[in-house]
C-alpha cells in the first residue's frame, strides 16, 4: 500500500491537524456563544425576569429583590446575577441543575416552592446548561435582598423536605408520541419552562398545585390577585378564544374585546411571552386549545 505523497510533505502534515485544531476551537467558541444566546431566550421563556427583578422602575433585570406577597408570607426574590456574595457567582452547572430541577441551593438548603422548581424539574439538560451559561455571562451586580417574611413554622427551610416528600415528584418531560412536535413544544413551554400552572392552577391548603384542576384558575393567586382559568370553558376561561386571540394576547397583551391587560400578566407578556418566537407562541396556543374543557370556579 503506497503512502500518499501529500502526507509526506511536512508543512502540510503539520498544517492539517493545526488547522483542524483551530477550526475545532472556533467551533467550540461558536457553540458557546450560541448557547448563551439560547440561554437568554430560555430565561425569557422561563419567566425568570418578572420575578427576579426588583420593583423599582430602574431595577437591574435579574438582580433580584422583588417583593412577592403570597398566602404563605412575603418573599423577596434572590439575585441571579453572578455576584459571589449576593448572587450566583461561582455556581457550577451542577449547582444550577440542583436549584432549577431539585429546588436545592448550593449549600444544601431547600428553596420554597414560590420558586417554580416543581415545574422546572421537567426541563431538559441542554436547557439547564444554556440558562447557566447565560446567567454566568451577565455582569455581576452586588444586590443583597431582604430575608423572606414568613410565619415561624416556615422559617426553617428544611421543613420543605416534608413538602417535597409529599408533593414533589420530579419527572423529566416525556414527549407524547401520539402528538406532533408543535403540541409537545407547547406542552413543554406551558407545563415546565413557562410554568403557567404556578399561577393559573389552584393550590391546596399546603400550597401544592392541584393538577387535577390544571390551569382552571386560582382564586388566591400571588399579590392578592384572582388568576383566571385558561382552560377551554364555554362560560369562563378562554373557551371563546381562537388561536389568533391567544397569539395576539401573548404577543401584545390585547384581550379579544380590545382591552389591554394590566396586572401581573402584563409583566409576563413584556418579559416572557412577547419575547418568544412566533412559533413558540403558536405552540403554546395549540397546546392550550387541545386541553379538555374544565369549568373555572
Amino acid at each position: 500500500m503506497a503512502v500518499r505523497p501529500g502526507l509526506r510533505a511536512e508543512p502540510r502534515f503539520f498544517a492539517a491537524p493545526l488547522l483542524s485544531l483551530i477550526a475545532a476551537s472556533c467551533l467550540a467558541a461558536a457553540a458557546e456563544s450560541g448557547q448563551i444566546e439560547r440561554g437568554r431566550d430560555l430565561v425569557h421563556a422561563g419567566g425568570c425576569i418578572s420575578c427576579h427583578t426588583g420593583d423599582r422602575p430602574d431595577a437591574t433585570p435579574l438582580a433580584g429583590g422583588r417583593r412577592l406577597e403570597t398566602p404563605f408570607g412575603i418573599f423577596y426574590s434572590p439575585n441571579l446575577r453572578p455576584d459571589r456574595e449576593t448572587g450566583t457567582g461561582g455556581w457550577t452547572d451542577r449547582d444550577f441543575d440542583a436549584a432549577l430541577r431539585q429546588g436545592r441551593a448550593p449549600d444544601g438548603s431547600l428553596y420554597y416552592p414560590v420558586f417554580p422548581y416543581p415545574a422546572y424539574a421537567g426541563m431538559s439538560d441542554r436547557d439547564v446548561s444554556a440558562i447557566a451559561a447565560y446567567l454566568r455571562s451577565l455582569p455581576p451586580v452586588h444586590n443583597p435582598v431582604p430575608p423572606h417574611e414568613l410565619p415561624w413554622y416556615l422559617r426553617w427551610r428544611q421543613v420543605m423536605l416534608g413538602w417535597n416528600l409529599l408533593w414533589f415528584h420530579p419527572q423529566p418531560f416525556q414527549a407524547d408520541q401520539a402528538r406532533d412536535a408543535e403540541w409537545n413544544r407547547g406542552a413543554y413551554l406551558v407545563r415546565h419552562l413557562g410554568h403557567c400552572g404556578e399561577c393559573h392552577t389552584p393550590r391546596n391548603f399546603l400550597g401544592a398545585r392541584d393538577d387535577s384542576r390544571e390551569l382552571a384558575g386560582n382564586p388566591d393567586g400571588p399579590d392578592d390577585e384572582e388568576i383566571p382559568g385558561i382552560r377551554q370553558d364555554r362560560e369562563g376561561g378562554i373557551g371563546q378564544w381562537t388561536i389568533d386571540d391567544i397569539l395576539l394576547f401573548l404577543e401584545m397583551g390585547m384581550l379579544p374585546d380590545g382591552d389591554f391587560a394590566g396586572s401581573s400578566m402584563s409583566e409576563v407578556i413584556d418579559d416572557n411571552t412577547s419575547q418568544l418566537t412566533a412559533a413558540d407562541r403558536r405552540a403554546i396556543a395549540v397546546y392550550l386549545q387541545s386541553l379538555a374543557p374544565l369549568h373555572s370556579p
Binding site: 384572582e226 394590566g262 409583566e267
Partner: protein, 151 residues
Amino acid sequence: MHHRSLSILLTIATLAFASTSFSATAPADAIKYRKAVMSAMAAHTGAFSLINFGRVEHQDHLRAHVEALAAMGTEVKVLFPAGTDTGNTDALPLIWQEQDKFGQMVTAVEKSTAELRDAVVAGDKAATMKAFKAVGEACKGCHDRYRKEKK
C-alpha cells in the same frame, strides 16, 4: 369703549355660566363618561385588529376605526378630573398623586393613536404594525400602573 366693556362683561358672564355648568357635572357621571369612552376605544381597537390581521374582511371599515380611536385618543386627558378618584371606578388614586407622569402616559396614547391613523391613511402596513404596537404599549402601560385589576 362701550362696546369693549360690554364684550368684556359678556365674556365674564359667559365664562361664569360655563364654569357653573361644568362644575355641575356629577363625579358619578364623569366616571360613567370616562368608562364609556374607554369601552369605545377598546371596541374600536378590537375591531381594528380583527380587520388588520385579516381575520374578518371589511378593509373599507379600517379607516373609520382608527379615526375614531385617534379622536378619542385626544379626549383621554380630560377624562380624569379631580374628584373622580372615588366611586364606581377602577382608576387608582395614584393618577392624582403623580399628574406629571400620568400626563406623559396619556400623551403617549394620543400620539400613538394619531400615528396609527396616519399609517392606515397612508396605506403603510409596516408603519401600521409599529403604531399598533405602540398603541398597545400605551394602553397596557397605563392600565398596569393606574387601573385596579378585577378581583
